[in-house]
């Protein structure tokens, strides 16, 4: 196997708040290789977005504080990088797309201007993006690249539409523009934070297809953050299930979704209605994610878990390998895995 694109190792993040310091990431482990699409799922407040933002070092600190761990991007620890170094990496090594395509585009500039800015910025560190165009021709080269990127993400008449403003595009089109913007600097890793949540199903299907095709074509590694398990099943090759700042189960998408081992993964899957779910038989998950300011000792899921016992409060349960690419952190796996 090749060297991983991204390796997050034992990442701990604390966040200061009025009530005290919350331990929001509690030893995250995640490895993404080129060509893999990792779905990161879990309820609101489980740390999915913070994990994604950490990869771009976009979590403001303070109030956040990294306690320990590493975020290795192509072998280089981002937690030790300076802000200037991070600026050189964002958009060029890591691309990001977010949930709301409306607020992430500046309404006052044409999309062309915004794409060209990103391309020029990236070209400062890797001139090959613009085919090593000399100084005076860089802007023109960046514009040509922007048109090509827009065509790639499926914007028709890209050469004309490049001068349009964000409000002239529909939600799905804006998300395509943002994908073009995230990929214009040729990053190897794409972090997508709920990119289809605000879209209609038919548009969502198109965007998923687009991401899928781009991954196959460019060998990207993707971290796809979502709360929609059906979308994960559709798009992702791997999945990491997060709960209260921990990855509780991870592995190949088929292994995890077809034979979920962790009680939390099972509960999440049981909450999604599928064809043939009898009305009234849907199982909700009682309770909420515990407070992370003074989290319960041991397994953080224990308070909502039907099969929890006193030993679950002893300490953080270790990851148990269940197959070549499948692991879960639970003490009750033998009785739990059916």
């Amino acid at each position: 196997m090749s060297e991983p694109l991204l390796r997050i190792a034992d990442l701990h993040l604390a966040m200061r708040s009025f009530d005290g310091e919350a331990h929001v990431l509690n030893g995250i482990e995640l490895t993404v290789r080129a060509g893999e699409i990792w779905g990161v799922v879990g309820e609101t407040g489980c740390g999915k977005s913070l994990t994604g933002l950490s990869v771009s070092r976009l979590v403001p600190s303070p109030p956040a504080r990294y306690l320990s761990g590493q975020i290795l991007l192509e072998g280089r620890d981002l937690l030790r990088a300076t802000e200037a170094e991070m600026r050189a990496l964002r958009g060029r090594r890591v691309g990001m797309i977010f949930q709301d395509p409306t607020t992430n585009l500046n309404p006052l500039f044409s999309i062309g201007t915004q794409l060209i800015d990103v391309a020029l910025h990236a070209a400062r560190h890797s001139p090959d993006i613009l085919d090593d165009a000399p100084r005076g021709r860089r802007r023109r080269a960046a514009r040509a690249l922007a048109v090509r990127m827009l065509e790639k993400v499926g914007i028709r008449d890209a050469a004309v539409r490049i001068d349009d403003y964000p409000h002239q595009f529909s939600g799905g089109m804006r998300q395509r523009v943002l994908i073009a913007m995230a990929l214009i600097g040729r990053p190897r890793l794409l972090v997508a934070d709920e990119p289809t949540t605000a879209l209609d199903v038919s548009v969502q299907a198109q965007i998923l297809q687009l991401i899928y095709d781009l991954v196959r074509e460019r060998g990207l590694g993707v971290m796809f953050i979502t709360h929609n398990l059906a979308v994960v099943a559709e798009l992702c090759s791997h999945v990491a299930v997060m709960y209260a700042g921990n990855v509780v189960e991870s592995g190949d998408v088929r292994a995890v979704l077809k034979s979920p081992a962790h009680p939390y993964t099972r509960a999440l899957l049981a909450a999604v209605p599928v064809a043939g779910t009898r009305r009234g038989s849907l199982a909700g998950l009682p309770g909420t994610v515990p407070s992370l300011i003074d989290p319960p000792p041991g397994c953080r899921f224990a308070s909502r878990c039907a099969s929890a016992g006193p030993d679950c409060l002893g300490g953080k349960p270790p990851m148990v390998p269940l197959g070549e690419t499948h692991q879960a952190a639970c003490l009750r796996l033998t009785s739990g895995a059916g």
Partner: protein
Amino acid sequence: MLRIENVGKTFGGARLFGRGKAVTALSDVTLHVPRGQSVGLVGESGSGKTTLARCVLLLDRVTSGRILFDGTDLSRLTRREMQAMRARIQIVFQDPYASLNPRMTVRDTVAEPMEIHRHRLKLRAGGRTDRVVELLERVGLAAQHLYRFPHEFSGGQRQRIGIARALASAPELLVLDEPTSALDVSVQAQILTLLTDLQAQLGLTTLFISHDLAVVRYICDRVAFLHHGRVTEEGTTEEVFTAPRSDYARALLAAMPNPDPDRSFLARG
């Protein structure tokens, strides 16, 4: 119970200077919601789902056609009659963070419809608090929550408060406008369970607006697909989901992500 007959709704036309182009939000929509049943209204953003709901709730007047509720033509009601009718048709909104007044306690929020419709409900002021407690218990909350404010509750709990408020005037028809799309799946499952229980206990008739096909398939007896302001497909949930007749319904169902990784529509190598 609710009969929507050939309803059309056009917006605009008049502009500040001269005349603008009128937008047709609904054209020739016919839909029947039988008593005690749950009818799903599915469509993409801009398809006219919410406009239709607003017309049913008497928040907008239809341009053509008529909406019959229990035999009464809603578009012919006077203001006073309309006000009385609102007790019988209630709504639960999408966003439980935006649809509750942050400065009102749970008790006041749920009691407000009782006060507005006091002539119909015939509840004395003292009886209202008891009724609020009864409603809170019905939706899975308790008396201890009476004097708390919305910010003290989670999203799922807030949606329960919204449902309690909608039930306060003892409505016969409940319009649910995307009631679970702002919630986590785990919480969504709880709210869906609550809704099915309520429907069974109270014999409610519901119009369930959603763009989530999986939820509609789970909770609705019948379903109608709305596309560009027209009903393109209508039938029992079973029929529509297993054998859709219109191209639009087929396309939408094909785009629906499937939680089984082996049935992904993306060709996997």
